[in-house]
């Protein structure tokens, strides 16, 4: 590791400075050095006051999201070798910053909860467990499988200008999760989800910018899910209108 790269990290230390500021670090790197490795190096060797989140370091836990040169990225899935001389790391956009690269994701969690992201089945004939379980064919699973790959990293929220302008918008991942359960043949809870999805802050706040799908590290394609949700919301509103 003879080469080094100069990295700028946006710091926010509210007890020292009321405004965020940039700080430079010189970090050794090779082909396999990820952004997260660089942050860990800074923390261990250069400056132990730096705060950031991480856990799995293999694109599964979804906790290491940061902006690299203004684009939302998973720190552990993004490599220093991909960048030239400019490497600016800052906290995930559109969320309140608590400290350095640590953001407050409460609003994201609230939106996830609002769509009831679990199987709802109150029918009489529902399986009781033990030997009596649900059945699902590969074709039935294929309908929602891609949408179930979300790791709740929030990169799509940092990529979404509509969420940036109005954080009451349910947003890409929450609507994707709603669609994931709506498409699941075991689920009977679609009606319960449609009220939240059909509101203005539901699917209709989306103008199909589509950057959410570009930045998603798990190829979930949230933009597709949101726009499938628009079709469902239109149907739901129409049926409600006809039923009076």
């Amino acid at each position: 590791m003879s080469q080094t790269k100069s990295i700028r990290v946006q710091r926010y230390l509210p007890e020292q400075e009321p405004e965020p500021f940039w700080q430079n670090y010189e970090v050794p790197f090779d082909e396999s050095t990820s952004i997260l490795d660089a942050l860990n190096y800074i923390k261990d060797e250069l400056d132990n006051t730096l705060s950031y989140r991480w856990s799995c370091r293999m694109a599964i836990c979804g906790s290491c999201g940061v902006m690299v040169n203004g684009i939302p990225k998973l720190g552990c899935k993004t490599f220093l070798r991909e960048y030239g001389t400019r490497v600016d790391i800052s906290a995930l956009a559109h969320f309140p910053v608590e400290r350095d690269l640590v953001v407050d994701m409460d609003i994201f969690m609230e939106h996830l909860e609002a769509v009831k992201p679990y199987i709802i089945d109150k029918s009489k004939g529902r399986p009781t467990g033990e030997s009596d379980t649900y059945r699902q064919t590969p074709a039935q699973m294929a309908r929602y499988h891609q949408f179930s790959n979300c790791i709740n990293c929030g990169l799509c929220y940092a990529a979404c200008p509509q969420f940036g302008l109005n954080n009451q918008f349910l947003g890409p991942a929450a609507i994707t999760l709603a669609q994931r359960y709506n498409l699941d043949n075991r689920d009977k809870g679609k009606r319960e989800r449609m009220a939240a999805l059909s509101e203005h802050d539901g699917v209709w706040s989306c103008t199909f910018v589509g950057f959410c799908s570009t930045v998603c590290p798990k190829h979930v394609d949230p933009a597709a899910a949101v726009n499938q949700g628009k079709i469902e919301a239109a149907k739901y509103t129409l049926i409600n209108l006809l039923n009076g």
Binding site: P14, V97, R99, T207, F208, G210
Partner: protein, 131 residues
């Protein structure tokens, strides 16, 4: 639990200049402007048709104005650009499934362009035949 102090970043008015993806998005949305002009032309044409020969002839003269033709050529280009950005989204929003398999994206996008080409050729052929 008391929340710690936090800093709320605000979005700059120039947010859409920060990435090529956003610029293309704004361009796609802007295609509506020449389209509104074209729709206005069509409505004026209908009104002229209804108002008698004189109005109709002056509407035809207006449509033959080089500047109007230029703007409407721009409208055509804008509409084709909009279609080019929109067609690839269709198979993602309305995937066509046969069993556990999804119809390939290229097949659906290609199919949509084929429909556009057929309609365009049919219209041109019709007008040549009429003339």
């Amino acid at each position: 639990m008391q929340k710690p102090a936090s800093y709320r970043p605000s979005m700059s008015r120039r947010w859409w200049l920060q990435h090529q993806h956003f610029v293309l998005y704004m361009l796609r949305e802007a295609t509506v402007v020449p389209l509104v002009f074209f729709a206005g032309c069509m409505i004026a044409g209908l009104w002229a048709l209804n108002s008698g020969a004189e109005a109709w002839v002056s509407w035809q003269a207006f449509m033959a104005n080089p500047l109007v033709i230029l703007i409407n050529l721009l409208t055509l280009a804008a509409s084709l650009f909009h279609a080019a950005t929109f067609f690839p989204l269709m198979p993602r929003v309305m995937p066509i499934r046969i069993g556990a398999k999804t119809l390939p994206v290229n097949a659906i996008v290609g199919g949509m362009w084929a429909v556009v080409a057929i309609i365009a050729i049919a219209l041109v052929a019709y007008f040549i035949w009429r003339a």
